[in-house]
Symmetry: C2
């Protein structure tokens, strides 16, 4: 009988490495097409990346473009063109498809991205949205350039998208049981971060304006811990993140208490925050401190010191992410 | 209640036009990224574009790359880079994924394409393969440049992939009923054309070598009739195709007789032939006649003469394709 190794046994990161190793693909959010142009493909699948029960189609279209743009921004480049391929099931109506495209259109306008092509197919099962985004930048930044003493910076705040999903999942269960309309009041920010997240395009613009070229950059879509570990692996460095420096929105704390979830875990492992983690040389300290939407959360250390979070009492917790645990 | 228009009511071509019209996308096989660079995205969905019951995964990987390359060749450009995103269901084993990638790898080597990125996701339903291919060419050719008296040329031969699928479908039904192994002998060519089609990369190379720049070009993936009608629409021209000039492989005739299918219908509307239809000015008659893998099947006429096939007795049959019938 033929050997059948389940993908879960191998762990997703190892699995992708095994598949792509013959092709020598660099581990970055986008591929470098030429000196100043990058390209990234992404795919959103119904039932895995989104749930149509609580995801308005306009928001989904918007989010698909945000996810695509995020991959380009994470290379310190500006998204310029996009192709969008859709797999639509027969039960999809023209009006629903239009709603999806309305969200796409809105995001394209907002980010200044031009739709240049794509493909629409029938899907026998769920909705599939595949994007390829192309961007340009004078200073493309990879994951691999972080140096000891560099500052660790992040854009925006973390954990809100994850908590938004917890809220939607809870309300979905409640509605399923009772038929009562969902109670989502007081958590508008969390819902917006989950359903219509924006990519930090202004930060990449500001970095260029201020003449700050990060040494390494990665997007935070699987949580801060996973992004930090990937960056450390690519750059062969360690990191110290200071717990009290991680920006977490007040609604995250509020809902976390209600649901008895640790808000720091939401920030570290929650995912779906389309924010950026990047490193800059110490000499840019001043420009970074005054830059809107950016926080310094720690610094880069030598590889043998590992990646850890420092709590206010000075103790260190080694960073772990579900993805990386699987690899062992 | 909200209006729900089924996509089928509108017809696929109209539907895509309706969705994408606000974005002003040109109807070509690929989008023009800059003067000499084109980009095309494609998606293959399980149950729609392939059936894993009779599609070996190595062949499927190969075919996905062929389909991607075909879009680039149809712009008179050479495919150079590709991104491949996979949606894999949990029941997929690592070995199966490796088989898929082995086929991808083989095609990439053969076509000289570099894999530069992609994305692997879990899929709740079927296998999804999304590709984006980038190509370069000194003389990008669109669908819209055909002129009256131009020669109509095609690469390869038509109908074989469609007949290969008919054969596989027949054997699938037979195996389902009786459990007997499929009888596929004598039809190796048809099976290869369906399962492992190649894209006519050598023709695009030869055109460049001979200094022949087509006036219009399109790939033949939905059958010759559909391709011809699209080209006529984009170029605002008519066409005369001579029935006896359409190259059809002998195995197509053989199986068509067995299954009582009209082989000309297979060639005109069958689809899945990754061949090219293109037009060249009359003065290139000589270069085209001596070019391997190319046949002249007719010529371009004025738009008011319409697109028709001329039978050996001189009567004309108006070209129709299922896609275009839907539009009325």
């Amino acid at each position: 009988m033929q050997t059948r190794t389940q993908i879960a046994e191998l762990g997703k990161v190892n699995f992708i490495e095994k598949l792509t190793s013959p092709f020598a693909i660099e581990a970055d959010d986008a591929a470098i097409l030429d000196n100043n142009r990058v390209i990234a493909s992404d795919m959103l699948l119904e039932g895995v990346d989104f749930d149509l029960q609580y995801t308005p189609l306009e928001h989904l279209g918007y989010k698909a473009v945000t996810a695509a743009a995020s991959n380009i921004l994470a290379m310190n480049a500006m998204p310029k063109e996009i192709t969008i391929s859709l797999g639509l099931s027969a039960r999809f109506s023209v009006e629903e498809s239009e709603a999806l495209y309305k969200g796409v259109h809105y995001a394209l306008d907002q980010y200044g991205i031009r739709l240049i092509g794509g493909n629409t197919s029938a899907s026998m099962s769920g909705l599939v949205i595949a994007t390829t985004c192309i961007g340009t930048g004078d200073n493309i930044v990879r994951r691999s350039g972080a140096k000891t003493t560099d500052l660790l910076c992040i854009t925006g705040n973390l954990g809100a998208a994850y908590m938004g999903m917890q809220l939607l999942e809870r309300e979905k269960r409640a509605v399923g049981k009772s038929g009562i309309m969902p109670q989502l009041e007081g958590y508008n920010y969390l819902l917006r971060r989950q359903l219509q997240p924006t990519a930090p395009i202004s930060v990449v613009k500001n970095l260029a304006t201020e003449g700050v070229v990060p040494t390494a950059m990665i997007d935070i879509t699987n949580g801060l811990a996973s992004a930090m570990l990937s960056l450390c692996q690519s750059s062969q460095c360690g990191a110290r993140i200071y717990l009290e420096r991680i920006p977490i929105a007040s609604e995250v704390f509020k809902l976390a208490q209600e649901l008895q979830i640790d808000p720091v875990v939401a920030a570290l492992n929650g995912g779906d925050d389309f924010e950026l983690l990047f490193t800059v040389p110490l000499e840019h300290h001043k420009e970074i401190l005054t830059m809107a939407g950016v926080d310094v959360i720690g610094h880069v250390v030598a590889v043998d010191e590992g990646a850890a979070m420092v709590t206010p009492d000075g103790s260190e917790i080694r960073l772990q992410s579900p993805d990386f645990v699987n690899q062992m």
